[in-house]
Symmetry: C2
Subunit: 362 residues, 2 copies
Amino acid sequence: MSDRAEAAVRVIEGSLRKRGRLRDSHITLAHGSGGKAMRDLIEDVFVGSFDNPALAALEDQAVVALSELASHGDRLAFTTDTFVVNPLFFPGGDIGTLAVAGTVNDLAVSGAKPLFLSCGIVMEEGLPVEALRRVVASMKRTAEQAGVYIVTGDTKVVERGAADKLFINTAGIGVVPEGISISARNARPGDAVIVSGYLGDHGTAILVARNELALETQIASDCQPLNGLVETMLRACPDLHCLRDATRGGVATVLNEFAQSSGVTIRVREAALPLRQEVKGACEILGLDPLYLANEGKLVAVVPAEAAQRVLAAMRAHPAGEHAAVIGEVTGEQAGVVVLQTVFGGERIIDMLVGEQLPRIC
Amino acid sequence: MSDRAEAAVRVIEGSLRKRGRLRDSHITLAHGSGGKAMRDLIEDVFVGSFDNPALAALEDQAVVALSELASHGDRLAFTTDTFVVNPLFFPGGDIGTLAVAGTVNDLAVSGAKPLFLSCGIVMEEGLPVEALRRVVASMKRTAEQAGVYIVTGDTKVVERGAADKLFINTAGIGVVPEGISISARNARPGDAVIVSGYLGDHGTAILVARNELALETQIASDCQPLNGLVETMLRACPDLHCLRDATRGGVATVLNEFAQSSGVTIRVREAALPLRQEVKGACEILGLDPLYLANEGKLVAVVPAEAAQRVLAAMRAHPAGEHAAVIGEVTGEQAGVVVLQTVFGGERIIDMLVGEQLPRIC
């Protein structure tokens, strides 16, 4: 074949390829090479799913007008999170759901409207392409639910044994509306502390999925985007003081961060913690403290006392907040202390998590 | 000890801790727990190195005024890249240099001024803390060189054997100045094709570092930020047509992307390719094609013919472009074709990389 004829055949294949499917059943090192196999993978699995103009251009970066961003507020929020959860699939979600919801939530708790995500994937050679497709479909679904676009990405493949199946990093960009100022430093004595629902569902679901529990439970991960809930809360009270999603380290770690950053004491009533019976049971059997269990769709808010009932009512009217509860309040006793008032009437200090409770929970 | 006394001791430790050093010699699963050990690691190794106000606040997201971004241009550029290079340390750089320079370069080739990076790290249990410190020091140095800030991050630890030592994802934000419009779709017949210097240094350096070459060479990776060079080029010619750094897949892959996206032929003269003797030698011995070797501090530019000598002169006056050369030109013969005119007077089609040349090159 002459060079010309060869080239013509290739170009026709090229344009067909965009509409076709990747034929490989498993990921190989070639899918991370920067060459043809990688381009096929990206065009089929990613561009085909995340369909949006920025990604389809396949430049090495996505570009968006600052004027468009400015229509949402006056400050850019930027965050990142890597997901290494084991197993990849669990009741209530998978690593893809987690990778989108996690970064959306890190943006949302700054008060930002999440807009764009990046997606960096590390795959182990031999990963079934069908597993990747399932994960990407979850990312797409969760991104739609949150109203964000995945606009730029990168894929790497490492040899068998150099990574455990699949890791996903997402970074996110959002815009904070004017006048919103949420920070871990803003808790004031008198403020109310609210959680948005049942605690510990994600941590328990992962334990069950790993068969580390000798229990039959129906617990599903609470993995979900929280930006809609946060918008509702901000409409009820634009002056939310602190907001953070309670992921690794659980509610206890978030409360300690608030108490330390704001120089206050936070008092929590054990009886007020929203806990499912199954989670309570699992914690009792395994000696785990639900305050340290990971959540992937729950937030902790510190709000002015006068707004507490208004915010709570707004949260309960939202699907992501129906089981929201006031769990305690802020006092000025001491800087950096979290105190639990137990159901037996005693008190104990709730410290930050020491050591590791459950590795690879997210 | 009463609760009060215990709390007071902890708070004093807390404030000392920020100025102290992490005492562990190796990374453990606790350093990824979301709890105290992770906070110690982040405060000591990361915040201590990347020192900037956004990161020091230790919120889950960095926030920057849109008005500040608007002072640099009218469009936001957003990109991401994950680095899994093996080995972590090699002549000329390490995974940290690469992680900063790589993302800076992906922004720079859109014409954007790179401003902020995120950093998502996956560590294998048992990684020596000193290795992490060295990598973080390289990230800091490269970020300073490029004039960017690392403003937000995340660390995960996986159990021994679930990852190979250390993977780093960086996402980056930059701003594109008004009037700049660089795209792989902009190559026009008559345009000149320029590369910014010697090709294949990074790929060869990694091969040598892996002891896969039975050669004694002094080749160091070309790993470096290119945003300064791009600024110089844009001053010489604001109308640069295409620009891309030639990483995985090498110059051949970039030229194919330009040819396909622009619907043109690109003709390259083999004799004009800037190649070090050592790289040429290694390629001949191993049967590698230098056009496919990875670079980590080289770019390919397509510029209007009338501007070619002006751009070339500007590049050669910059340390990152002293060996820049015009290597070919764009023609309208056929869409999506790259042709090499060999030193023997023949012609051959240069396709995108098929299969995998060197896994984990970046």
